[in-house]
């Protein structure tokens, strides 16, 4: 099982009182203002259990449904590795980070240029993510430009699962993509039953804020819940565009969308693991970009984490992202701020590490750098223990005024609990120019050369080949 570092210090953004106010506002949105919910089966299910429709076409969800769903949903579940070993306990106390196994573009670490993402790049991303100790899952999206659209989801997942043993988060272009990936995942797990018992995959889908849950979204929720696959339902909203410009209003609306997904998932299959996701960002009113680096985005994501935890749910957060296209001063500042916020707010499954250019490219070099940044920050959020051993009065007495601690038993036995960076330099005499890029490249090359993920069993590979034939060029 992954040894996660539980944060011992948290910051509160909202506090209990304000969390409760936002919760109540969300209930008002659901029960009085109403939402647009499509998809016949899901809609009927809602209506059968007390939701109401009116002439305006909106669906209103009573408080009792939300309360029932909150009682039914588990606060904890285990994600397994590809090989069926328990990998991580997902709950509101542990934090793990993940990157993408594919994206629209890749910031090519070898040429330094951003270019279209190709299917072969999935192997690079997956191998790297497997190798880095602070990256524990990937998001397989289905965006390779050299695969026919119809099979992008399936191709991305197959390429990922061949090169990655840690848990896989996946999204799908359409319902067929979801069904196909569930087939493929079952193949790898050794059957549908085993996949349900020991899920090494979890699904990602989303509504369209404000308050719109189209058929494609609710069907995705329904199918994943029916198959007992843990699901993240995450509104991405932009303040001033698809959410109110005011922070509290945006959080309340976003929370209403997440709770609506929760109600649906629990009505379809009581007890199905549901992960609270939220991306309340801002719309930049100069450029209309939905920001991936704004401080308000980091702040409201952290606040959403607090809301999720009030419900006892694990939170799917965001960190390690930037609006800049390259590895530069801006992207490193934004990535660091966001990783810090994610750790301090106790976000649990933190996605998007290394995603730059407001979600257009993924940068392997940034993933390597973020791995180091996360490690550094974990040593911050460990906090300070205060007990007799840690106070070490006996050692202070032994050394006394004017002495030194270099040769004490206490230093010798404990100095390794202090963090030693792998990339960051603390040389007495630093070099004349930065060595950072070279170190990052060496790490990427080392991962590619020496960290081959064991092959899947031949019979599984043979089955996967049948799929691959559909989209091989």
């Amino acid at each position: 099982m992954k040894d996660t570092v539980p944060a011992t210090i948290y910051f509160n953004i909202l506090g209990k009182e304000n969390c409760k106010k936002i919760h109540e506002a969300s209930l008002t949105i659901m029960d009085e203002i109403g939402l647009q919910i499509k998809g016949e089966q899901v809609l009927q299910l809602l209506l059968d259990h007390g939701a109401r429709t009116a002439g305006d076409g909106r669906v209103r969800i009573p408080v009792s449904l939300v309360e029932q769903a909150l009682k039914a949903v588990p606060g904890e579940f285990t994600l397994f590795s590809r090989d069926g070993e328990p990998y991580v306990q997902v709950n509101k106390d542990n934090t793990i980070f993940g990157t993408h196994s594919d994206q629209l573009e890749i910031l090519d670490p070898f040429s330094g240029k951003a270019r279209k993402f190709l299917r072969k790049d999935t192997k690079l991303m997956s191998t790297l993510a497997e190798y880095l100790s602070n990256i524990d899952f990937v998001l397989s999206v289905g965006l390779s430009s050299d695969v026919p659209t119809r099979y992008q989801t399936q191709a991305a997942f197959i390429e990922t699962v061949k090169n990655f043993r840690k848990p896989i988060n996946f999204s799908s272009n359409d319902l067929q993509g979801l069904k196909d990936v569930l087939e493929i995942a079952a193949l790898v797990a050794g059957g549908k039953k085993k996949l349900r018992e020991k899920p090494f995959v979890f699904y990602y889908c989303e509504p369209i804020p404000p308050l719109s849950h189209p058929e494609a979204s609710t069907e995705k929720l329904r199918i994943s819940a029916e198959n007992g696959i843990p699901v993240v339902y995450m509104p991405y909203c932009m303040l001033g565009g698809t959410a109110p410009i005011t922070f509290a209003g945006a959080l309340a609306q976003c929370n209403a969308d997440v709770l609506t997904g929760l109600v649906i998932s629990q009505l379809v299959h009581e007890g199905t693991p549901y992960i609270y996701g939220a991306m309340p960002s801002i719309m930049d009113m100069r450029t209309t970009v939905g920001s991936y680096g704004a401080p308000e985005f980091a702040l409201l994501t952290a606040a959403s984490s607090e809301l999720a935890h009030m419900y006892g749910l694990p939170f799917y957060g965001t960190a390690g992202t930037s609006d800049a296209r390259f590895i530069d001063e801006q992207s490193i500042a934004e990535v660091t701020m966001f990783c810090f916020a994610a750790l301090l707010s106790g976000s649990n499954l933190v996605h998007d590490v290394g995603v730059l250019d407001h979600c257009i490219n993924v940068a392997p070099e940034m993933v390597v750098l973020a791995d180091e940044i996360i490690e550094m920050l974990k040593h911050f959020v460990q906090g300070v223990k205060v007990n007799n051993e840690e106070l070490a009065l006996d050692v202070i007495k032994e050394v006394g005024p004017g002495g030194h601690f270099l040769t004490t038993e206490n230093t010798a036995s404990k100095f390794k609990s202090i963090w030693y960076p792998q990339l960051f330099s603390r040389k007495m005499k630093n070099e004349d120019s930065s060595e950072m890029k070279d170190k990052i490249h060496a790490k990427i090359n080392s991962a590619l050369e020496h960290h081959q993920v064991p092959s899947l069993a031949p019979e599984i590979l043979k089955e996967l080949e049948k799929w691959e034939k559909l989209f091989n060029n």
Binding site: L104, G142, L143, T149, Q152, N173, D174, I208, S212, P214, A216, M238, G240, G241, T242, M283, M285, R286, T287, T288, C359, I360
Partner: protein, 204 residues
């Protein structure tokens, strides 16, 4: 003097004031065509320029666009017989399968603000619906929007179906200039302000 006041009114987005200011200009003998071309449209041109410079923000631009629209509605009925310089008619929608419309809505408001007649076809607009609108409404330009990579494919099919019937402009987060070339669209705009410039260049 009166034209300057209208121009300023657009620039500051004072939608409650615009009709009164226009009435004063008409009473002072300003020609409706002058009000449109030398005050309202020039005001919006300046708004577009300021936005590109980073001096104006979207909500301010939209207020200006709205002010312009109200102004146009006030002047247009008086234009009978007079030669009007309507910049053109544009039909716009998100392509089949795509329900994300914040970007498209922004473009609609900006185009209207620039004086175009816009037919907003909404979301999830099929190839056939676009073709039907081309047939019935004879627009000068079709605008297509897509947020998803899957619907980009649909966008390509739709643009191909439209063919040479009418010019097309495309946009949306994953859409690029290269993609526009690939599918044979007449133009691509990365944002709503550029979409207005693009529409003007494609129509005139």
């Amino acid at each position: 003097m009166e034209l300057k006041a209208i121009y300023e009114c657009v620039l500051t987005g004072e939608r409650d004031q615009i009709e009164g200011v226009i009435q004063r200009a008409l009473s002072a003998g300003c020609r409706p065509a002058d009000i449109i071309n030398n005050a309202l449209i020039r005001g919006m041109d300046e708004v577009g320029r300021k936005m590109k410079e980073g001096d104006m923000f979207v909500p301010e631009v939209l207020m200006a666009a709205n002010t312009m629209k109200i102004g146009l509605q006030a002047v247009k009925p008086l234009m009978e017989g007079e030669e009007t310089e309507a910049p053109g008619k544009i039909a716009i929608g998100t392509v089949s399968g795509d329900l994300h419309d914040i970007g498209k809505n922004l473009v609609v408001m900006m185009l209207e603000g620039a004086g175009f007649k816009v037919i907003d076809l909404g979301v999830d607009v099929s190839k056939d619906r676009f073709l039907q609108v081309i047939e019935e409404e004879k627009p000068d330009l079709i605008g297509l929007s897509a947020l998803l990579t899957t619907t980009m494919k649909t966008m390509g099919e739709t643009v191909q179906a439209i063919g040479g019937k009418v010019k097309t402009m495309i946009g949306g987060a994953p859409v690029t200039e290269d993609f526009a070339d690939e599918i044979g669209a007449s133009g691509y705009a990365p944002d709503a302000v550029t979409a207005v410039d693009l529409a003007k260049s494609l129509i005139f």
